[in-house]
Amino acid sequence: MNKPVIGSDLPRRDARDKLRGRTRYTIDRGGLGMLHAAVRRSDVASARIVRVDVEPARRMPGVRAIVTADDAPGRYGLTVADHPLFAVDRIRFHGEPIAAVAAETLAQARAAADAIVVELETLPAAITMEQALAPDAPEIHPDWRDYEVLFPGGRRSGNVAWEATVERGDTDAAFARGDVTIVESCFRSGRQNQTPLEPRACVASYEDGRFFIETSTQVPWAVRDTTARLLGVRPSDVRVTVPAVGGGFGLKFEFAVEPFAALLARASGRPVRLANTRREEMQTALCRENADIRIRSAVTRDGEIVGREAVVLMDCGAYGGEQPFLTTMTAHTLGGNYRLGSVRLLSRAVYTNTAPTGAFRACNGTYNTFALERHTDEICAAIGMDPIAFRRRNVIGDKALGSTGQVFEGDVLGPMLDRMEEMTASRPSQQARADGRLYGRATVVGTWFIFVGPSAATVNLNPDGGVTLVTSGVEIGSGSMMQSLPQIVADSLGLTPQDVTIRAADTDAAGYDVGVGGGRQTVSLGVASTNACIEVKKKILRVASEMLEADPADLVLEDGHVSIVGVPEQRVSVPAVAARAQVTTGPISGSGAFTAPGTAAMPGCAAGHMLEALDLPVFAVHDCEVAVDPATGHVEVLSYTVVQDVGRAINPRAIRGQIQGGVVQGLGYALHEDVSIDAEGRIRQEGFETYRVPLAQDVLAIDCHLHEGAPSIGPLGAKGAGEVPILNVAAAVACAVSNATGKSVDTIPLTPPRVLDLLTGYDGPQEHHHIAKQWTDNCLPDDAVCVA
């Protein structure tokens, strides 16, 4: 019998070519007759467009096509269609596209883009959320009332792009109780740039009335649909394929360069390549948004949380993008982790004249968890309770109510805290290594979700007995297409992973899929693939039953053969079955699908949420020890330990690789990845010289334990493992730095200057005058609810 494929540390099939330099990413593609493209972008944050004259550029050498707003009539959005491809009449952020050029060489395209005459009249700008929410703020979208609403239910007004609220129970009564301590905190978090090494890039062509786009994306179907929407063509006239992707981390969860290249391909009749420069990636990446948070809790002396209120402001930049959707996740992160007697939460996406923000691994979960865990430690200090004892007492367990009234299943966080305590108790403390610096430690918990949603899969049995899995799945590096799915399919059909061919994403070949992100690919495609395999297996057994003259119910499919139960020598090989099927039933294939079953929330307690409950929650417990140098403000992480809820580990070593990589990205976020925006709305960091991502000398080996057995709707009980490792990192580091310094950490990243400010009290605490102390004063009126 073959060794079990589930739970095995199997290698990945794409490693060899990646190590030989043979893998051809989108940026390595192109061919005969291909043109190069460049985008002309605005160099101010807010202006009225007086005139755009492309004629001087048209006369430049090598130029084959120029496109502008006139060529792209549509607007894009998730909840509200607020985003045109090119700026129309008005510039809203520094770097906004105005026109695009295709030419014979890249240098010619760039020169021509520079030669386009753009006449602007500067307008007042709102660069920060304080400015955007001020009573006299310039309206960034004066026409916001006229935009098409794609998902109703949120509140909107002026620079508030979207507002979502949760109200469960009577928080007024909870805060008015005589036996509670009230703890209030404000937090601020910065932007984080995804910086995958492969930039957003594509090659587009236009043939027989259809667009064909090869692109570096996480979401082939969203690229197809958004490109069609922006260009005003049928979605079925766009085909998207995806080669190996050189990293994504959420940056490639939206369309990017594709519609520009598509327009230029149609206009020129030639294939067009468009790849962002590193500088463009720094200036226009859909960063994890900066956020401001006010949170307040009423807690009894013995540690019961009877009421909680919070306001979260998320800076969506000039257009909504993912943020109106992500307002949803405040309910499940600030409202997660702990049992709450009553709760009200308000989460807003706020327009500013800055580059739009977007999805980044665990999205707003990272800073909401930072805020929640720091606030939790402040509660513990206020009531004099041990932070771990408080967490043990309050973490959500079986039958606990979430903030929107969903009922959680299973005790997961409690046993994970136990396991963390065992792990940390089994090793010596690293305090001695602090060597004169300030030593601190913290254990934090986190609640996140697997973004389930529709996926489709087809499995074809080939004449040689192997199978081909056809999906719209994309390998962005996590290994879900190269390791997990072949393992899942092989397990379903009694084959080896080598027998499973993986078809790269092609929207003309495979059914709809939400894309890779939110930890969903192994889960959603895993279930869809398993369902496809059920059909294939049934057909294999039916054909084999004729060959073996036995009832299908008495047959077993394993080790590449069908045999009769209890009579293993009575067997036929899968290739023989495939050959037989060719002449009896025709070739064997199966299709499978998946979508979330929908989990109940409490009616009426959530407004403006695209997900009122989590179909597949996932949990994490992190612990870290730090040493803070009081002279320089440098924070060294001395140890880092993770207990992660994985449901079931399909490939444990691959999951450990995700945890190591995700925690290290989180350390960058917590400590030194600093995106700052100047008064003119320009992102100061233009490359790796000034944007400090973690290097080999900055990091340490993460000690991790994979917690199995929590309830899951995933294949074989698995949960997505790639997204959640980053969730708790800023929380763990910030709580440990607070513990080390005795100061209240309320801002990330904790760069050395900020740590020195913290130690000296130079900057003072965050006060957030733009968030009203009285929760209800923050809410937009009922008549601001948007309807479709």
Binding site: L19, G247, I476, G657, L695
Partner: protein
């Protein structure tokens, strides 16, 4: 007048102007796309190649400066189907994720080990200071490098003897 460069043990004639970055010549003239141009500023290390055996970020090297010199890219590491010890070690530790940084990391470490075959962990980490990896968190890469220290010494001994 055209330039001549020895690329992966083969003498090649360069058509591009002398100030063209070596990375661009390798990728666009010789289709050696294993060399990745990620930042174009010498900070990320993804375009690292060996010039006369020493690691260099090829985006900052004008091709005119390597006239008559030996340039080795990631495509030269495997001999036939046999991976180098370092490449094989990266498979053993399951180090590869998106893979974009690996060509540069492999060339940095290959050059480094030829000088310092018995380097310790700290020295390996500092050798990698100019190579950014955004996926892996580096540990599986460092683990792979540590695992071949003996092999690296053996390989350079063979080279010295031949």
């Amino acid at each position: 007048m055209s330039l001549r460069v020895v690329v992966n043990h083969e003498e090649r004639t360069v058509a591009s102007a002398p100030l063209t970055p070596l990375s661009t010549v390798l990728r666009e003239e010789f289709a050696l796309t294993g060399t990745k141009e990620v930042c174009g500023e010498g900070f990320c290390g993804a375009c690292t190649v060996l010039v006369d055996g020493a690691p260099a970020v090829s985006c900052l090297v004008p091709v005119g400066l390597v006239e008559g010199r030996r340039v080795e890219t990631v495509e030269s590491l495997a001999v036939g189907e046999d991976l180098s010890a370092l490449q094989a070690a990266m498979i053993e530790t399951d180090a590869v994720q998106c893979g974009m940084c690996f060509p540069g990391i492999l060339m940095t470490l290959t050059g480094f080990f030829s000088e310092r075959p018995d380097a310790d962990e700290e020295e390996i980490r500092s050798a990698l200071a100019g190579n950014i990896c955004r996926c892996t968190g580096y540990e599986a890469i460092v683990e792979a490098a540590l695992s071949i220290r003996g092999a690296g010494a053996a390989a350079s001994a063979v080279e010295a003897a031949s």
